[in-house]
């Protein structure tokens, strides 16, 4: 009887607590600002969902800054954007090992947004060009040994923030249209 009353209270409480919501999809709202710290995670791909509105990968952790054996879902861009970054569906297969610099979900949901991905011991490839821009402006990009994405060159930098835009302009890394120049133009006298 007690359990019946409790179940009824759960249902009634649940019905009473609905409320409207607003907002729209934004990776920074879910995983923190572009410039926020990442963690290092190693894992194994156990599922690939190469589909819109965004691709995702299921991984089981094997090491890094997380205990082994945890189940996490990596979210990323829509297919078109992934391809502009230089990723292909065939790059990701069940059983592949991955090394990640990644953000985790701000509300403790089992979601990650990778900053950079290495597959089967390959190069650590960028998955977020705006964070690359921030690191380039801060002078830390080279030390991270992250391979920049194909679409870094020619990207509009505004989403990286006004201070980053100013710094990139000072560094000579924006063209006449205000778009990113990468790799950096060779210094005069150098080839």
């Amino acid at each position: 009887m007690t359990h019946t009353r409790f179940a009824a209270a759960l249902v009634l409480g649940a019905l009473a607590l609905g409320a409207p919501a607003s907002g729209h999809h934004n990776s920074q709202a879910e995983f923190g600002p572009f410039a926020s710290p990442t963690i290092y995670v190693e894992g194994r791909i156990v599922g690939v969902n190469w589909a819109n509105p965004h691709v995702s990968f299921d991984i089981e952790t094997t090491g890094g800054e997380m205990p082994a054996g945890q189940h996490w879902r990596l979210e990323s861009h829509p297919i078109r954007i992934m391809e502009e970054y230089g990723f292909k569906q065939s790059d990701f297969n069940v059983g592949d090992t991955v090394k990640l610099r990644t953000w985790t979900h701000v509300r403790k949901q089992p979601l990650m947004w990778p900053r950079a991905i290495s597959i089967n011991g390959g190069p650590l490839r960028s998955n977020l060009r705006f964070t690359d821009m921030i690191d380039i402006a801060n002078g830390t990009f080279e030390s991270l040994h992250i391979e920049p994405p194909l679409n870094l060159n020619g990207s509009p930098p505004e989403r990286a923030g006004p201070e980053v835009v100013t710094k990139l302009r000072e560094m000579g890394l924006l063209d006449d249209k205000g778009l990113m120049i990468w790799p950096p133009p060779a210094a005069p006298g150098k080839r």
Binding site: A9, L10, G13, A14, A29, E30, N52, P53, Q109, L111
Partner: protein
Amino acid sequence: MKQALISALVAATVSFAVWQVANRVAAEPETSATPANLKLRVTEELIEDGWVDGARAPGADHKPLAAAASSICYLTKIEIKGVQGPEDANSCSIGVDEFTGFWQVTAAVAEGGKSQVRCNARCLVWE
């Protein structure tokens, strides 16, 4: 007479069985948490709920909500815009994702659809 005897025997057997089961249930210790031990909370309304803009990229957007072992989740809003016709199918649903063990809300626009669908959910969590 024979029929009456059989009926009486069946009735006695059933009564005995029910009595045995009732005694066993009463004797079992309370193993689950009682309501007095539980703390209930309701998850925040998601800022980033499940949503799909079919005009940009139709598909299914899955959003984990809360661990299914200690919560119950429910849709709080379904918003659909820009339906182009009967073939522009969309949906909101909640189910348990077996991989993560979390409830998840799914917003979906079928391939070829142009509509937008937004699905909100909250969860009642016990700890």
